[in-house]
């Protein structure tokens, strides 16, 4: 069954995931640390606070909820969660992006069990998630909780028009078993999302499209957990959890820097990043 940890334990797991992300990307000498670190707490909440249904012993278990990572460049965050579950081995972390690896540069369902669909071309995940939610909703017998579909979208990615097709579709079909996370870190490759092509008042836009909107701190696992519980209980519409996040969260020199979207830290920077995360870990442990 899925793993249920306390908030404190989940925070420690998120810290370990960030450690893995830096280690993987550093070793690969390429990859996307910024957007992986910004959605780490979202994934930690889903996998380790008992809100998503899955079998820790079988990534392909038939009755599992689905998780679609629409912002596929955050693959290292997904692999870090899988590592915590034992679905990715310790000795695989160093293989990210290398020939023959299961840890492809963007998630590949053919390579790694647990990856539901290939992603990386932005703006496609939400439609897939909506289609799956529709199928599960139609399948669920009366009175039985339908399988839920979670989808993690980036904010820059919302500039893709296809997302807005899906945003119209899901409420129109009453897909209450669909929850999207919007990882609102305000940065894309070319800079500030609000300057490049602003999403404007995205909460109001999502609500106007018919979504149940929850706005929360995307790094506060307790609040994220509560938001997902709220989404799971809401039966009238799909839920959008809009998460205020920090790109590069947890690594001081990466935080809020667009330059760390798709760049690997060198050896010296890696040591500094891991030191930051170690210091954070000590702090979390103190708060026990």
């Amino acid at each position: 069954m899925s793993i249920t940890k306390t908030t404190h334990e989940a925070r420690l797991i998120a810290n370990s995931m960030r450690h893995d992300i830096i280690t993987m990307v550093s070793k690969a000498k390429s990859g996307h640390p910024g957007g992986s670190l910004s959605c780490t707490d979202i994934l930690a909440t889903l996998f380790f606070t008992g809100v998503m249904s899955y079998d820790e012993n079988d990534p392909s278990s038939p009755e599992r909820d689905l998780l679609i990572i629409s912002k596929g460049h955050a693959a290292p965050a997904l692999y870090a969660a899988f590592h915590q579950l034992g679905w990715v081995r310790d000795d695989e972390l160093g293989t990210l992006r290398q020939l023959g690896t299961r840890l492809q540069g963007h998630p590949d369902r053919n390579a790694l069990p647990g990856v539901e669909v290939c992603s990386g071309s932005l703006g496609q995940g939400l439609s897939i998630a909506a289609g799956a939610a529709l199928g599960f909703l139609a399948d669920a017998p009366e009175g039985v909780r339908p399988r839920h579909v979670f989808c993690v979208c980036g904010d820059g990615e919302m500039q893709e028009g296809s997302n807005w097709e899906a945003l119209m579709f899901a409420p129109n079909h009453g897909l209450s078993n669909l929850t999207m996370f919007l990882d609102l870190n305000n940065l894309q490759i070319d800079g500030d999302v609000r300057k490049v092509n602003s999403l404007g008042d995205v909460d109001a836009k999502l609500a106007a499209f018919g979504w149940h909107v929850i706005h929360t701190d995307g790094h506060d696992i307790e609040r994220l957990h509560a938001a997902v519980e709220d989404a799971l209980a809401f039966s009238a519409a799909p839920t959008a959890i809009v998460c205020d996040t920090v790109k590069g969260k947890g690594v001081s020199f990466m935080e809020n820097e667009a330059g760390w979207h798709g760049k690997a830290p060198n050896e010296e920077e890696t040591a500094l990043a891991l030191a930051d995360l170690d210091a954070e870990r000590v702090q979390i442990e103190k708060e026990a």
Binding site: N110, V117, G125, S127, I128, G131, A132, L134, S162, A166
Partner: protein, 309 residues
């Protein structure tokens, strides 16, 4: 014999498959009447989804439905149902190797009066380039029924190219096709005409005209463009020593270029490519076939030039 469009087989065959207990469903983008998926909608309302005018969402939703175990068929006109959502077909359907069937109608210049924007001429090339995708181009109503059945029972992505133009029937009700499949419809000794879709009936008409000029043309229906029925094509090329391909598609990337690649590697054979090299234009489908040299007379003229050269 009655003329029917290949699209007329689409919704009807989906209903038959659903009746037989096959887990098919259709995802359309506001063209259910034209694509004929509305027949499935009427018979099985819960097996039909209309996403509205949103082809990218259509492919994504179908992909999600495939993840739940259904066998989704996407519809729309070929120009939108392929061109507008190529990235979704490539990166979601084909890279993930999902059980999604991309089955647009209204392909080729025979769409007719709607003109160039609606006449898809590049889809075979786009689809045959994709790993995991199979490409079927049925020649008539019966062949289209067979193609939809093959798509439903073949795991993974399948593309079926259908049209709105009413074409003479080539096959009887026992036609089942295959993957791969190419059928010798008329035997000949001087030249092989390989045709697909609408152009199969036109090529049979061309063979009649050529016979009067003393040219014996073998006509083969290339039902599956990918994979090609290599043995059938190679045997005919060996026999006649000349190959002409005919399609209402760009010659640069279509069935003919797939055949050329096969022959160049395995049995180099002089070839002529009959097809499109420009955008289409507005006119009734029959008029366009004649205008672009894709009717029986036009094909016969080009084949004769090639044979006599």
């Amino acid at each position: 014999m009655a003329k029917r469009a290949t699209r007329e087989a689409f919704g009807e065959t989906l209903v038959e498959l659903a009746n037989e207990g096959v887990n098919v469903c259709a995802v359309d983008a506001d063209l259910a009447g034209s694509t004929t998926t509305n027949k499935l909608q009427k018979a099985y309302p819960d097996r039909f989804v209309d996403v509205g005018i949103a082809e990218q969402d259509m492919i994504g939703v179908a992909s999600g439905l495939a993840l739940t175990g259904l066998i989704p068929f996407t519809a729309s006109f070929a120009v939108f149902g392929v061109g507008r959502c190529y990235d979704q077909i490539r990166n979601t359907v084909c890279d993930s190797n999902l059980n999604v069937k991309v089955c647009p109608t209204h392909a080729g210049i025979t769409v007719g009066e709607d003109g160039a924007t609606h006449e898809m001429l590049e889809d075979i090339g786009m689809m045959r380039a994709l790993p995991n995708m199979r490409v079927l181009v049925p020649a008539d109503y019966r062949a289209a029924k067979a193609a939809i059945r093959i798509a439903a029972t073949t795991p993974g992505p399948v593309y079926v190219r259908m049209g709105r133009h009413k074409v003479p029937e080539v096959y009887d009700e026992y036609f089942v096709g295959g993957l791969p499949y190419a059928g010798v419809l008329r035997e000949g000794t001087d030249v092989t005409i390989l045709a697909c879709g609408v152009e199969v009936a036109q090529s049979l008409a061309a063979a009649d005209i050529l016979a009067k000029s003393g040219i014996s043309a073998e006509v083969i229906d290339v039902f599956s463009v990918k994979p090609l029925a290599e043995d059938v094509i190679l045997a005919s090329a060996e026999k006649t020593g000349r190959v002409v391909t005919v399609e209402e598609h760009m010659v640069s990337t279509g069935m003919g270029s797939a055949v050329a690649a096969l022959l160049a590697e395995k049995r180099p054979t002089p070839m002529r490519f009959v097809g499109m090299g420009s955008f289409g234009t507005s006119a009734p489908g029959d008029v366009l076939l004649e205008h672009f040299g894709l009717d029986g007379a036009g094909i016969a003229r080009q084949v004769e030039e090639f044979v006599r050269a």
